[in-house]
Subunit: 302 residues, 2 copies
């Protein structure tokens, strides 16, 4: 029921996000001169526009509903996070990393273009994420823009997403302790999802304890997302995933499902869900959409 609510709101918001991403790319492309520049931007578009649920931009929106935020600001921050997320997918798929030929049911960027272009498209997408966040053509104070840019950078960097991917690669084929797996996932997926929630809450004017409660919720949400993803990897069909099923298991990736088994991971997911909902208790009734998003994220595992 609540997942249903989030699903409808997610689909509606995804259309707005798509339009914002397109608009920002069009603007970039208009300033390009040489064919090689346009081809690089085409690779960035390929990596960003061919599907994707736009969950992270939606987390910005769901958290922004805890107060009053400018819709254009919600979309802009969501777009920056999505550019960042999509760059990470391009680089994760590279032959030297996860060597994944497919993504979202389409050829990965390095397959559709070439490896050098995929590296550069990822690099340029990361820069673009910071550009659209830091520049002054959307409704946010300079304080907020620089604060969000610093927060996105932390979520993306060596002690965020990049560090998580390094842990992931180091953990392949090795039996990690549960604490190490939780750390890996907190960095690899959790940091950016948590930033999305936090950024939305900041846009809505939250501070102090309510902001802290959103942070706690976001950490649990990230963990729930990752456990669900790992459950999907061993249970879902390739068609549903848009990539080969069991690919992570085949590479010996360290996951809680591998450590605890399918049922153990499901039980852990229940505990994470309970903690996430408890964190929202102090936030208030406006957290309806965040609650619904949690259910939507978890629902995928059934």
């Amino acid at each position: 029921m609540t997942a249903e609510l989030a699903r409808a709101a997610l689909a509606e918001h995804a259309r707005l996000v798509q339009a914002e991403l397109e608009r920002l790319f069009d603007e970039l492309n208009r300033a390009a001169q040489e064919p090689a520049e346009k081809r690089l931007i085409a690779a960035m578009r390929h990596a960003t526009l061919l599907g994707g649920k736009r969950l992270r931009p939606f987390l910005v929106k769901a958290a922004a509903e805890l107060g009053t935020a400018h819709p254009a600001a919600v979309l802009r921050v969501g777009a920056a996070i999505e550019f960042l997320h999509c760059y990470s997918l391009v680089h994760d798929d590279l032959p030297a990393m996860d060597d994944a030929p497919m993504r979202r049911g389409q050829p990965s960027c390095h397959v559709a273009f070439d490896e050098a272009t995929a590296i550069l498209a990822g690099d340029a997408l990361q820069a673009f994420a910071f550009e659209v966040l830091a520049r002054d053509d959307w409704p946010a104070s300079a304080e907020l823009r620089s604060e969000l840019a610093a927060g996105l950078a932390r979520a993306a960097g060596a002690l965020g997403m990049c560090g998580g991917q390094a842990l992931d690669l180091a953990g392949e084929g090795r039996a990690l302790e549960e604490a190490a797996i939780v750390r890996l996932q907190a960095l690899k997926t959790g940091a950016l999802m948590a930033f999305a929630c936090e950024a939305g809450a900041r846009l809505a004017g939250l501070a102090g304890q309510r902001l802290e409660a959103v942070r706690s919720f976001a950490r649990e949400l990230g963990l729930a997302f990752q456990i669900t993803d790992d459950l999907l990897d061993v249970t879902a069909s390739a068609e549903r995933l848009g990539k080969p099923a069991g690919a992570d298991a085949a590479r010996g990736k360290a996951t809680l499902v591998r450590l605890l088994g399918t049922e153990g991971a499901r039980a852990r997911l229940d505990a994470v869900r309970a903690r996430a909902l408890a964190a929202l208790d102090s936030v208030g009734a406006e957290a309806l959409l965040l609650r619904a998003t949690l259910e939507l994220v978890i629902e995928r595992s059934h």
Copy 2:
């Protein structure tokens, strides 16, 4: 004579920059938990700390002398630009790009570590550049921090450094027109060097026509740097370069030296130097260090 002045000032400033880079890395490393995180940071350090003249941070300083800037701000902006520059070297050296096993007389990052780690170290260095620029622990207003973050992102992105590298790869083995080569170099090397000069001028409080004059100078400086680099590639020894001589020529890179010949390129360099000095005329006598830096950059070609 003036080049001598710049050389001494460059060496002195490089020591301060080195200390700032070390300090920022130490702080990052202290917050790392797992060995794989520390190894990623070690790869970032390898890419950044093993040599390099720190020319870009010095351009910030030379331009900052046009007014009054806080020394800590000059160092911080220089460090951010150097992180960005060093990430680009790591990715440029990758097998799928220039496939360069050596850099600054040391094994390239992907040789000293591995390819996946080099990709991630570059990615994390880019994020770190934006983090240290955007966060509020150095003397600059939020306005200036967000403005500089947006400027660095533009200089780094699809219509800056990344676009230049895409043009460079597309131009390999092909005869480019002079305009296309100039565009390639303006994006690949020029954008970040111009940003360094502009950022220093902004820190010093410059605006309007004087800021515009610094921008013009910076564009010519970038071109002078690139022509000098291309001349060095065909004339200098491997020992002096820290990488194999003639490597760019062997890959059929599009350069003005290739198009105009060595003597033609030298003549072009003279013209660029004259335009650069003319741009500084309206800036005033404080531009001594910028003038000297131009001479230092060009001197390498003799």
